[in-house]
Point group: C2
Chain length 256, copies 2
DNA sequence: TCGTATTTGTACGTATGTATT
DNA sequence: AAATACATACGTACAAATACG
């Protein structure tokens, strides 16, 4: 009881996160609605029994979530009490599933292994002796193919995970969990592509038909490549949502 | 000299921003290279003559820029000394210009006015009596059309800006400056589209040809709609780059 | 229009917790 | 086990923007 940490379901979280979650819940509950001004920071801090500095850390998190904005002299204004959980392409997820107009209810996963090609050696920072797992995933809405992806993963990544490579469902589950790793980031490119023969067969479309195509490499926060993948979106089924943003920091772009 | 602010080119900036810019410059200059560990926060704070708390605010900015990562117990590690200035689609800019394979060297702007349609009234939060400016912009790389955009802007937005509506260059310049407004955010959708007759003429392509298409509404940080626009990307000339990211916050998604 | 009060922003110092080496 | 380094937390003080009488 000396000072700082708190239990909630046997895990301890920082006070400022607890404060963030409390206020977050207030907004969800409609205690404060869009446009309302929150009580002053001193008052909130006292109510939550934390220092003002700690409370301000919580406010920062709320801002990052787009739930409030604050302005010097005015106060902290509620922007939205929506459940902003559905995030766009700016967050890592599975776009084929997330943005499909029909729910994706079935996936077919296959896995194989091959030596790292030169390109893989480059983008995944591998040695020539490395092996990469090739995971092909086909997504279906009912019987309609909704998309297809080719995932290349260094063998070491899979190796550290105790995944049963015979069980393709487990492989797919491991893949989706991997995408939720905290601190992950990507270099992603989106462009227009065409269905070649193999892809046309998989997606049940004409050869040469135009497709949305996403190609990316995922890295850990330490810049270690985790996987590279290429996603093909079924035609007329996907619309990619993004929240674009300008910084609020008014940092002068240095001369130099 | 009492305490906190500093002049640099007759503007005063917070100490933590100054610290951020100093360290930023160190990285650009190669004083610390990718993979290096920065000196400890106490040492840095003393070198820069600020408190550790202030220095940590600077470190936060450096992290947001992706220049460093820090890990408890280990230290602050340099990720990159690149000039990470080229930002992707996750930041607001002009994607037709930013992602064109050939430099866009010419734009043709036209402007007109019309009563707000029902759709405009909804997305731009206007009254039926409102007027919207319709700004059409065609982008060229040399003589090749690179893209086309239709921008709908409430008349009030333009009205507050003293733009000479006769001078279309000024209108375009105002539009690009508007995109740099700090705190701006968007709801953006990307999908596959087809060139209809008018667009096919403008972009010098076949009618029905597939196109990348971006549709979005921009809002101020106060949730006031600023403009809605639809961008058409010339075929085979654009590849959209995005940096996707997972939060480093390990915030449990609340049950509820 | 002009102060004054309120509210957030910046900054310092200090203490202690926790992860890594 | 000890030293090092970042993370969290509190308290205090003043600056700066805004709101209000």
């Amino acid at each position: 009881m000396k000072d700082t940490v708190i239990n909630e379901k046997n895990v301890k979280i920082p006070l400022y996160v607890a404060a963030y979650e409390t206020i977050s819940q207030w907004l969800k509950d409609g205690k404060y609605k869009a446009g309302d001004k929150l009580p002053g920071e001193n008052i909130l801090a006292e109510q939550l029994q934390v220092s003002r500095g700690t409370l301000r850390q919580a406010m920062l998190l709320l801002q990052e979530d787009g739930l409030i904005i604050n302005h010097q002299g005015k106060g902290n204004i509620v922007l939205s009490n929506q459940d902003m959980s559905k995030s766009g392409l700016e967050r890592i997820g599975n776009p084929i599933v997330d943005f499909c107009s029909e729910p994706v209810d079935r996936v077919v996963t296959t896995i194989g292994f091959q030596p790292a090609t030169q390109k893989h050696q480059q983008v995944l920072k591998l040695r020539p002796s490395s092996v990469v797992a090739v995971i092909d995933i086909t997504y279906y809405s009912g019987d309609t193919p909704a998309g297809f992806s080719m995932v290349y993963m260094p063998h070491e990544v899979l190796d550290n995970s105790n995944v049963d490579l015979e069980d393709t469902d487990t492989v797919y589950r491991y893949y989706t969990e991997l995408l939720e790793t905290s601190g992950l980031y990507s270099d992603t490119k989106i462009r227009l592509g065409q269905a070649r023969e193999r892809l046309a067969n998989i997606l049940h479309i004409q050869e040469g038909e135009p497709l949305l195509l996403l190609e990316e490499v995922l890295y850990t926060e330490y810049d270690t490549p985790v996987l590279s993948q290429k996603l093909f979106f079924g035609p007329d089924q996907h619309e990619l949502s993004i929240r674009r943003k300008n910084d609020r920091n008014i940092i002068k772009k240095s001369e130099q």
